[in-house]
């Protein structure tokens, strides 16, 4: 449900002749602003202990790895040691990683990408041992062993809204959109729902088709699938990918197939997405707040290790940003949304 997001609340009134378009444009304008502030403001206030050991369980995809690296950087600032446990993204490798975490007895476990059904048994053990588990980007809820959840299902639907705002305003409310979704990642479902809701709201006459893609298509015949789809649906104007990965190789394939003029936007932008935007091969991306998520998790643990609740972090609304060629901060890799997030966080931790 996207009702609670600031985005939805901030524009109650509609514009004149095409109220949807106006609303979408307004929303888009807001989303394309680069956020300046991290969402937590309350300093930790106590001396943060050094030497904490933290296990970070990866999910087997790039974005988790990024998250882990940024988290490690943040933890290093506080003198903590992070052990990254790789997985192949399969349920049992995730389970095995948790099993190892149980044996490691770290001070905290950070993980990403998988719902608790996969590791319920280990989670119970960790809870019993009093080890906090911090999750992000998972189709999950806080509590019962999970101490903090960022980018949970309730947080990500705004990403759908953002994409919808761009599609609607970019097309002047005359879009015919295809949405390529990857059902294998359940956390992407709320994004898709958010997109559909807002897209229909803002753009009543617009076409929308959703295509599910098996995970095996990534890196193989995905470009071919897109080309085929677009050839058989020539009226489509906008293409949405629910994951940046799905777009890999697509622009080149479209070019050689002689398909021009399609607008492409991806959710969860990655370095390559930004390079595509820079090169004019893709039009927009929803930039994920990976840096901020990683550091807010560090922040939450800092509070935990100093005997405070993590509420401030759980409540905090992480920023998101819609990237287009105009506002692209840097093309040669990933970038934080809040430019000086490190400084701001360090200030909270009393490090600056």
């Amino acid at each position: 449900g996207g009702g609670a997001t600031p985005a939805a609340e901030s524009k109650p009134e509609a514009a004149s002749d095409s109220p949807g378009l106006a609303a979408a444009s307004k929303a888009m304008e807001q989303y394309t602003q680069r956020p300046a502030k991290i969402p937590v403001t309350e300093p930790v206030g106590k001396k943060i202990p050094k030497g904490k050991k933290i296990d970070f369980i990866l999910c087997g995809v790039q974005s988790c790895k990024d998250l882990a690296d940024y988290f490690t950087a943040g933890a290093k600032e506080l003198g903590w040691e992070v052990k990254q446990i790789p997985t192949q993204g399969t349920p049992e490798s995730v389970q095995a990683a948790y099993e190892q975490a149980v044996r490691d007895k770290p001070d905290a476990v950070v993980a990403s990408g998988f719902p608790r059904a996969v590791y319920a048994k280990q989670l119970a053990k960790l809870k019993k041992a009093g080890i906090p588990v911090i999750q992000s980007n998972a189709d999950e809820v806080v509590g019962d062993g999970i101490s903090l959840l960022k980018n949970g299902p309730a947080d990500v639907d705004v990403q759908g809204t953002m994409i919808a705002s761009w599609v609607v305003s970019n097309s002047g409310a005359k879009a015919d959109t295809v949405y390529f979704d990857l059902p294998a990642y359940t956390i992407l479902k709320p994004v898709r729902d958010g997109f559909e809701t807002k897209y229909r709201e803002w753009c009543e006459g617009c076409g929308l088709d959703t295509v599910d893609v098996p995970i095996t298509a990534i890196g193989k015949d995905m470009p071919d699938r897109v080309v085929s789809y677009l050839r058989s649906h020539p009226k489509v104007t906008h293409v949405v990918f629910s994951l940046g990965l799905l777009n890999v190789g697509v622009p080149a394939a479209l070019k050689t197939a002689g398909i021009n003029g399609k607008r492409i936007i991806v959710n969860v932008g990655d370095a390559q997405s930004y390079q595509y935007i820079e090169g004019g091969l893709t039009d927009a991306a929803m930039a994920l707040n990976t840096y901020e998520t990683a550091w807010i998790q560090v922040d939450a643990l800092a509070r935990h290790f100093t005997g405070q609740p993590m509420d401030a972090d759980q409540k905090a609304e992480l920023p998101n940003m819609l990237i287009t060629k105009e506002n692209l901060p840097s093309a040669d890799g990933d970038f934080p949304l809040v430019e000086d997030y490190q400084k701001q966080f360090k200030a909270l931790w009393g490090l600056s």
Binding site: Q88, P91, Q100, A117
Partner: protein, 370 residues
Amino acid sequence: MTSTPTRPAEHRPVTDPDAPAVYTAGTPVALGRRAAAALSFRNIGAVYVWLLIVVIFSVWAPETFPTATTVKQVLNGNAVAGLVALSVVAPLAARVFDLSVAFTMSLTSVLTAHFLVNAGLGSGTAITLAMTAALLVGVINGIVVVVLRVDSFIATLATGALIQSLITMVTNDSSITGLQLLAKPFASIAQLDAGGITLPVLYLLLAATAIWFLLEHTATGRRLYATGFNENAARLQGVRTGRLRFMTLVTSALLSGFAGVVFASSVGSGSPTAGTPYLLSAYAAAFVGATQLRAGRFNAWGTVIAVLLLGTGITGLGLATSAPWATSLFTGSVLIVALVLTGGRIALPAVLRRRKPSPAEPVASPDKKV
């Protein structure tokens, strides 16, 4: 695969004739010789490599590795992998490649979850239905390979694709999760434990024992090997090679299907890609296993040893280091070391070697090779 002219026959000195414990005992001398042969590097080289690994990790991670917990972790963590590896042993013995096992495993895992969660059936019914599907897969494989005579390697790739499409239809490619999968009757299948050893370890032992008995101690087993080594000769001696190959395909489907059910119970979800990571490692284990104990013959315990050898190393590595590349480096090197040192020169796929010419004549391995 190649036809390395390295059939076991040719490596063993004639004096200790391959001596499966089969041939009757005898004098103490003979017994001693037999024991020496059984413990020789040639025969159980992987076990020595395994011991070496244990020593290395005990030194490297002295606090965590040499513990009972590690033993349990290795056993529990590799039971499913072991089941999948065992599932390909019987087909390989008959020189049938079943590449669909990974898909069958995924299929039963999602079907069980589907019937339990989405259809609300009881555990027993759900498992029965899923295993029926596995049986069906085995029968279809059998029909394509034996009746329609498509080469098994490519045929099971094809049926694998068909199963994949079925999985996608059922799951839309996302895992099926639900409380029913985590609750008692079903969760116990994989999670019930005695002293920290879970049930799947028992299944592994049972399956290995059954396959060992079948291959080593029954007429069927003998005929399976004959089918694999020289289908022509076997058929001319009245062995129903087609029927046996059919049977192995059904067995592998059932066993890998069962692995899928166990997997679903152990992770508490039905994953549409549950089996994929197990495919190559199952074949690796079976091939390494074929160089152990009954050199040149795919066999159950050799396969189990291979699975545990690799599993021990990976668990040890997890305790000792967190370098992400360590696992594959370790797996690759251990495989090569184990195979080179133990004369892991399998007599392989006759597919590929079918026409190994005359047994005794010029072909017998030249001295320079040994």
